[in-house]
């Protein structure tokens, strides 16, 4: 598949994926563009892989975790308005928008971990391989992210349907 054909077919999906991982559509657009620019000169080799999507996903994750991006993300997090705990219970807290707001404000690596686990349905071992870390680190990052959801939303323990 030529680079242009790949972009024509897969760009919308890449942007959705990057938006989930970045928590911000503008950052996602920026990152995907950078990644494609980097991928284009070496497309001959990338396209020989069975799953170029996976390679580009790794590039997207790497880009999001780069120092420059992390710094920008930290600045964005400082501007995030965390949802106020509801005094009357958890009804409002389980609202999707409230969860979204928490997700957007998570540190990049934590958001990537839970995005891969819950949205991409990836196993922790695969996430660890993608991030170049141990499964324990993945579980730790996920635990922190879920704790943040609990903490911010004053939730009962997050229930994971395994």
């Amino acid at each position: 598949m030529k680079f242009e054909e790949y972009v024509a077919a897969r760009l919308p999906a890449l942007l959705r994926q990057a938006t989930v991982l970045a928590g911000d559509p503008h950052v996602a657009e920026d990152v995907v563009q950078d990644v494609l620019i980097k991928a284009q000169p070496r497309w001959a080799r990338i396209s020989e892989m069975d799953v170029p999507d996976a390679y580009l996903r790794k590039m997207i994750v790497n880009e999001l975790l780069s120092a420059r991006r992390r710094l920008a993300a930290a600045r964005r997090r400082e501007r995030v308005q965390w949802p106020a705990p509801d005094q009357d219970g958890v009804d409002v807290l389980v609202q999707r928008d409230a969860i979204l707001q928490v997700i957007r404000g998570l540190p990049t690596r934590q958001r990537i971990v839970i995005a891969l686990r819950f949205y991409e349905d990836m196993a922790d071992s695969d996430i660890a391989a993608l991030l170049g870390c141990t499964e324990g680190t993945v579980r730790s990052q996920a635990s922190r992210a879920l704790a943040k959801l609990r903490e911010i939303a004053t939730l009962q323990p997050v229930r994971e349907d395994e």
Partner: protein, 341 residues
Amino acid sequence: MIDTDAIRSAFAALADEAPPPDRIRASLAIRTRRHRQRRLVLGLAGAGTVVAATGVAAAGVWRLTRPPEPRFPVLDTGPGGGWLEVPLRFRPAWLPHGYGEGRRTVVVDGTRAPVLSRDWQPGASDRSISLLVGWHPSLDPDRPSGQPTAVDVDGVAGQLVQVGDQAPATYLTWQPPDQPQLMVSVVTGDAADDQRDLAVRVARSVRADPGHTWVGPRFGWLPPDLATVPWRLQQGFEETSWAQHVTVTGTGGRQLLVSMGTSAARRLENTFATTPIRIGEWSGWQVPETRQLFLTLPDGIEVFAQLDDESGGEQAMPALIRIMEEFEFGPWPDMSWIGAG
């Protein structure tokens, strides 16, 4: 209670916020054209000259009275100089408002620099107008193809070629008597007619430029497939830092890139698993699987080197290390010309 479904639902809603792909497609299209044009710039080996009459004596006629808008960084660059002095020879005396010089590329063949390309752009933008001075046979495959239109460039016959439909790139080539071949490239995203007018106007404004630029870095050792081919030196800026790239494409298709600059992000961008390495007094990391080296020089300059060997040969990484061991960086470039109109 928040359960997995609620989290998935939130992520799905987030995915629905994904931007439309149009802007990236347009940007990639422009970049592709620009890349092609850049390869061109380096590929044309010519002999010829621009409108000689407009040429040699009119230095100082540049549009200095109308400086570009301040969208270029103020760079903390080096002293300049090097082992090869390259005359600039020509430059346009007219450019659209806001355009400043953003990039220079030199083709080095042995101890000669047969081709020089200079790009002007409105700050950090994909739009550019370039002037290519000279020609080299290695650039022949990238020569713009299309139906040529005859254009008069101050009494010299020129050929104008436009590539692409919706957002074309425009190339105007001519050769004044006893001068190298010149080519103006316009990749501004404007309509074809507008680009044509720009190319002609810029070409007709070309005058002699008595200035010089320098080639600082050079190789002490290269593998045989890279040692006998021309290489390119490109100087420009990335965000607020200067950047200098040396590239070589071997006879077998291998590509070598040595990139130098002051951007701190350059080193930290590497998020792959890496192994520490020390080359002389330089410390850094190597990524053998991708044949990459990331080095920090004692003066803080960051260096990235990659030998793009598609065959994946085991000797590629040792070769890259030896290339860098014997690489001479030379004096860091003087890029005070960045942003000059």
